[in-house]
């Protein structure tokens, strides 16, 4: 079972990029984009700012598929666009490629049954505007929603008939992977993993395992999510994962969120699609693919005490499960902790969570944790939940590929000091994250 897995394509679709090239430019220039939410009036919510993506899914699907975009939730749109960017970046020709490309000799025609698809996804909130419009047709005299009036016995225009027939299909979390597999004709193992901030990393790990066990040669993998909607903003606020920046219209939100810094005002969300193409190494070589980095180790573990306002307990100040996941990944990579040259942590900017993560890094890396370069993304694009670790992994792969550190790296021992971008000899990069529900995952990427 010695099948090595490499990253051969990426679609880092986030508030600062829509391709491998633009992402690398943004990272080296220290670009950030966290802006007032512009898709609806978010002024009633604690955090009306977010990292937002500008892209129209209709521009990214085959013409014949445009009609199907009507049943895509925002999360699905982000996954579909990011997957297309990643497939193109890897030089893949799929059933989603235009005919003229399929006829050319540039690119690699995938083998459908040997190509899998694992996507980290979140719970998709039903569109509140659509729901609101429908439920007001089914209220009783006191103005309360009434299920009897919601039923359809009263005729064709009764309550629930105000929702479109395919309403449910828009909100099933597996629709991200379903649309991606249909567009590209991917018939291998396919899964949808619900792991919030750990979702994409758990998906990438599963893809690597699928390839290692010879159930596929390559997978489209990663995650996508957008909670930039009323229910999403409410829930993540209730989860204690959003800064309270209400009525502070003059604030610079990129200065409000400061990972690992005690003066951080809290976290801010973003929307993103973070998709990758991962591939068995000899398969990639034989088709002459450019590989960014090798996935040399991974691990995952569960914290029993994630800080959630539903358990009546005080969480420990270190995330022991995260240090265990990191240690497992480093061991599997066959290296020592001090050989990690840079870390992409979650760095959510919420101090209780950052302290747990920093202590987990200290437990796993020892003294090296204080001085190793940290590359934080939450303060650049927001916490993009199920997409986040996909974008992090893309950043780590680019760093190894370019042998270069992005601008504004920092360290645990001096979190207020930001380095300019610079050439660096990078052998191994660690990516680690923990989720709302305490799922922890870590990945070691290595230079090829």
């Amino acid at each position: 079972m010695n099948r090595s897995v490499v990253i051969t394509g990426m679609g880092p679709l986030c508030s600062i990029a829509d391709s491998a090239e633009s992402f690398w430019d943004a990272l080296t220039q220290g670009a950030t984009s966290i802006t007032p939410i512009d898709t609806f009036d978010a002024s009633g919510f604690s955090c009306p700012f977010a990292g937002q993506v500008e892209a129209n899914v209709r521009d990214w699907v085959p013409k014949s598929y445009r009609k199907a975009t009507k049943v895509m939730a925002r999360d699905t749109e982000l996954a579909v666009i990011a997957a297309k960017i990643a497939a193109d970046d890897a030089g893949l020709l799929t059933s989603g490629s235009p005919e003229e490309e399929l006829e050319s000799t540039n690119g690699f025609q995938i083998n459908p049954i040997r190509t899998g698809c694992q996507i980290g996804a979140g719970l998709i909130a039903a569109d509140t505007a659509e729901m609101s419009r429908a439920v007001v047709t089914a209220t009783d005299d006191s103005g309360t929603f009434n299920t009897q009036s919601w039923g359809t016995e009263d005729g064709a225009d009764a309550g629930m008939n105000n929702l479109p027939p395919l309403w449910l299909l828009k909100y099933l979390p597996n629709m991200l992977a379903c649309h991606v597999t249909i567009i590209h004709g991917l018939k291998g193992p396919s899964n949808t993993i619900m792991g919030a901030e750990a979702g994409a990393l758990l998906s990438i790990i599963e893809s690597a395992r699928v390839i290692q066990r010879d159930a596929a040669d390559m997978c489209l993998t990663g995650g996508a999510e957008s909670r930039l909607n009323p229910l999403g903003l409410l829930r993540w606020d209730y989860a204690g994962r959003l800064a309270n920046l209400k009525d502070q219209s003059d604030i610079d939100p990129t200065q409000a969120i400061k990972p690992f810094d005690s003066s951080s005002q809290g976290s801010i969300m973003g929307e993103a699609g973070g998709m990758l193409v991962v591939e068995e190494e000899s398969h990639a070589k034989s088709r002459g693919a450019r590989a960014y980095a090798r996935i040399s180790g991974f691990g995952s573990a569960q914290s029993l005490n994630p800080p959630l306002p539903i358990f009546n307990e005080t969480p420990p100040t270190t995330d022991e499960a995260m240090s265990r996941a990191i240690t497992t990944a480093i061991k599997q990579a066959g290296i020592e902790p001090h050989e990690i040259d840079a870390v992409l942590p979650l760095g959510i900017g919420q101090s209780d969570l950052d302290i747990r993560e920093a202590n987990a890094l200290r437990n796993a890396l020892g003294e090296h944790a204080e001085t190793v370069s940290l590359v934080n993304l939450c303060n650049r694009i927001g916490n993009t939940l199920s997409a986040h670790a996909g974008v992090m992994t893309a950043a780590g792969a680019l760093m190894l590929h370019h042998q270069h550190l992005p601008a504004n790296t920092t360290t645990l021992s001096n979190s207020g000091f930001f380095c300019p971008d610079k050439k660096a000899e990078l052998h191994h990069v660690l990516i680690c994250t923990s989720s709302l529900a305490g799922q922890c995952a870590a990945l070691v990427l290595s230079k090829l």
């Binding site: 996804a121 509140t128 505007a129 419009r133 007001v136 299920t147 899964n191 306002p309 989720s435 529900a437």
Partner: protein, 451 residues
């Protein structure tokens, strides 16, 4: 036989050492099994909410369920757990007990969780109040500011966060001290079969010694039922709910919603032997494919489902063309996905025929959804446990309400009455199929453990 699971070293062989479920026919493994063999239906008018005016007003509900029947101290940590999470806690409690892990714990970092648990039930009253208040009748538009104001007043953190599907796996991890890999997948109706299959692979690849695997779900609530009514996927046989779920029958007209949980303990053979655990069966094969066809339809040939079955058989080293010395195919039962929709039952039958070809008419084929309804994300795990019971007892449960087999579904059906296979050598190998909306197909092969 090279490359088959049963020839692997003990560390890479995966066996089942515990099982538990909460179903519409009860929570005790053996008594539910008896009721299934007797073709009893759990389908009745919905009581969870007033569905009297709904086109489908019936379902298979879990009744008389109390977490305190399973735990001495159900409150505290699980105080806020949603309905399906409570089902999972109860099912896992019984699975743990059967596996002997309750009295003989092992290294918690080597125990993981892989569920196909569904989302929790909306906190309807305050959620609907916000939606109603936010509609500006004069402007005929939605007002997000009003929604926020009303939502912050009425909606509270615990019920909102408990709806996140991975919270079920967190509750299990806390309760049963499982600190290894923890995942939750949502591939609709295929989810818990996929969770069991991937959990077995995690053990095979050394990421854990023991996995708590399965699923839990309840969609018997206003918008859950609404969604499937709008898709016209459910039976509307309001005058005769108990026979509404009739897989493979010529008069079938949709599925019937169920709810519940199924949890199994998967373990490396090495770990099970070291603990002296009782082994229920071996997970000998797993297959997973995508149709990559359409969002709303299954591929008419059932090629995705066939691919998943073939992949599971390949891993188990079983050739579907082979017959044993008594002329029986090597698979003794296919636990069908068998939802009672026109489309699924037809394409699944095509898939079985394309895999087993000349032997297809000799492979017993039945669907317990005829009695339990469709437990959506929990369906695969509960059906996996029926495969364990078939292997243990040598008896195959029937498809209830199957009076006239649809000619397009022609296979070796088991209509109405259970089939005792003990006179012909019992049941040693089963397949369990689960196919999800959007074309996600999973199949697990279970084999009697003989050493």
């Amino acid at each position: 036989m090279p490359n088959t699971t049963i020839n692997l070293p003990d560390e890479q062989r995966v066996v089942v050492t515990g099982s538990g479920w909460v179903t519409p026919l009860g929570s005790d493994i053996n008594s539910v099994w008896e009721r299934l063999l007797n073709a009893e239906s759990a389908v009745a008018p919905i009581t969870h909410f007033d569905a009297s005016t709904f086109a489908t007003n019936f379902a298979a509900e879990v009744s008389d369920f109390n977490l305190s029947d399973f735990f001495d101290d159900p409150k505290g940590t699980h105080d806020t757990a949603g309905r399906s999470t409570q089902f999972a806690l109860a099912a896992c409690h019984n699975a743990f007990k059967q596996s002997g892990l309750d009295t003989n714990p092992i290294d918690p970092t080597r125990i993981g969780v892989y569920l196909g648990a569904g989302e929790g039930v909306l906190d309807y009253e305050p959620y609907m109040a916000a939606n109603v208040a936010a509609w500006d009748h004069d402007a005929r538009a939605f007002n997000p500011k009003t929604w926020a104001d009303v939502a912050y007043q009425g909606m509270t953190p615990a019920p909102e966060l408990e709806q996140e599907p991975q919270l079920t796996a967190l509750h299990l991890a806390k309760r049963f001290n499982a600190q290894g890999p923890n995942l939750n997948c949502m591939t609709a109706c295929a989810a818990s079969t996929q969770a069991i299959g991937e959990a077995a692979e995690l053990i095979r690849q050394g990421d854990a010694d023991i996995m708590i695997a399965g699923g839990a779900h309840s969609m018997i609530h206003t918008l859950g039922i609404t969604g499937f009514i709008r898709l016209t996927a459910m039976s509307t046989r309001r005058d005769d709910p108990t026979t509404a779920s009739r897989p493979f029958d010529v008069s079938r007209n949709g599925f019937v919603m169920g709810e519940g949980a199924g949890i199994v303990i998967l373990e490396s053979l090495a770990s099970a032997k070291a603990r002296g655990a009782n082994i229920l069966a071996e997970v000998s094969g797993f297959g997973s494919t995508a149709d990559a066809y359409r969002i709303t339809d299954i591929h008419p040939d059932g090629q995705g489902g066939a691919g998943a079955m073939q992949m599971a058989l390949d891993q188990a080293g079983i050739n579907p063309a082979d017959l044993d010395d008594n002329g029986r195919p090597l698979v003794h039962w296919i636990n069908a996905h068998g939802t009672s929709t026109q489309e699924n039952d037809k394409t699944e039958s095509n898939a079985v025929r394309s895999v087993f070809k000349d032997n297809a008419m000799k492979v017993p084929f039945s669907s317990v959804k005829s009695m339990l309804g469709h437990l959506i994300q929990a369906a695969g795990a509960v059906e996996f446990i029926t495969c364990l019971k078939a292997i243990e007892t040598g008896v195959i449960p029937p498809t209830a309400n199957l009076k006239e087999v649809d000619p397009v579904c022609g296979l070796d059906h088991i209509p109405g009455e259970a089939r005792d296979c003990n006179p012909i050598g019992g049941v040693t190998t089963t397949l369990s199929n689960s196919f999800g909306f959007g074309g996600q197909n999973d199949c697990v092969c279970l084999t009697k453990y003989t050493g």
